[in-house]
Symmetry: C2
Subunit: 223 residues, 2 copies
């Protein structure tokens, strides 16, 4: 019988192995070229199997992509899920930033996969963003608002705060080539991420205005 996901069918050892290999190869290709830029041929080659054999497990290109997204989204949102109302605000936020940065370091392909998709208008996962991402962000934004009202962190738009954490951390995965060009070869990947962690801690905690200087520069008017 053909491998069908509709019926509650037990998966073969070979099925499990091959789907794993396919999804890993697909992650490689989709994250590097986007949905349209990636080809089934290259995914099959990278997975070490013939194209028809790959299509035996996933009937269409889009099926591979959707399986990938479904498998990775939860993992990707885990750090935000873990943001806890009970903990102390600043350590809790720092912990979130640190986790996101670790994700960028350890799973750059996943980061680029999502970046590619969003960048290209999220045509295939927009619904997922509305049904999964939006409620989660709303929930966590509420926690942040609580902390702001209690005066435990500065009062800002919590959703923009989340955006800035996403963008600054994922930048090190998504724009890695550019980061490397600018930072040069000295200090390996590990060093770069340590430096990034140190910098982001300062930025998010204290910003750039020096603490000591009293007669500081005057505030500039709004946009």
């Amino acid at each position: 019988m053909k491998a069908r996901a509709t019926e509650t069918q037990r998966k073969t050892r070979i099925q499990i192995e091959n789907e794993e290999r396919i999804l890993d190869a697909a992650l490689e290709e989709f994250s590097a070229h986007g949905f349209r830029g990636a080809t089934i041929d290259r995914i099959a080659e990278h997975a070490g199997m013939s194209k028809p054999n790959l299509l035996y497990y996933f009937r269409r290109k889009q099926d591979i992509y959707e399986a990938l997204i479904a498998r990775l989204l939860d993992k990707w949102l885990e750090p935000l899920q873990a943001l806890d109302a009970v903990g102390d605000p600043l350590p809790e936020l720092q912990s979130y930033i640190r986790r996101k940065l670790e994700m960028a370091r350890d799973f750059p392909r996943e980061s680029r996969l999502f970046a590619n998709e969003i960048l290209q208008g999220a045509p295939r996962i927009k619904r997922l963003l509305e049904s999964e991402l939006k409620p989660l962000v709303d929930e966590k934004a509420e926690i942040l608002r609580g902390w702001m009202k209690a005066g435990q962190i500065n009062t800002v738009d919590p959703r923009h705060l989340i955006f800035s954490i996403w963008s600054t951390t994922q930048h090190y995965a998504d724009f890695d080539v550019q980061v490397q060009v600018i930072l040069g070869p000295d200090r390996g990947a590990a060093g770069r991420f340590e430096d990034a962690a140190r910098y982001l801690e300062t930025l998010f905690l204290d910003g750039l205005r020096p603490k000591d200087k009293a007669g500081g520069t005057p505030r500039v008017r709004d946009l």
Copy 2:
């Protein structure tokens, strides 16, 4: 005679018009799908001309892409170019952030074009990054270091500071779909950018740690 860029040939009115239309259409397609995902057919259709006619002006797909990049890079780096050692540090930085945010608002396609290219490993512009972007960043990082030594801004790695300005501002162009899903339809694009500007000002100037609270939370250990 054929349109050739090698000789210093005066351009026809038609040439100027058509190249303009092609580059605009190409910006649309390349920024939305990346180099491999975009097709000459769609660019030609979007530019309102036949594919062979388009290929009369640009012989190969890559030529269109390179012409686009060349035309846009300077404009894209303009805000950083404008960062001036003479001005007061904090207003100068705020001005830079504001300009970058305005670019993200007014030229989102350009932002996405570069994002797509870097995301996919910058295979076509890596050299350009090394020869143009790197020296510029080095120069401006030196200015930032000067301000830090003078105690006019907090001491951080200036290159990571620049990364964070790039990522937070360009996020509003590159991840626009996601931003819209999370912020919802209320408040138009203009409102979103006002909010972003306000938030980023707070973040970069003061960070999240509240000023008044004395017995603040303890610092969390490094990564």
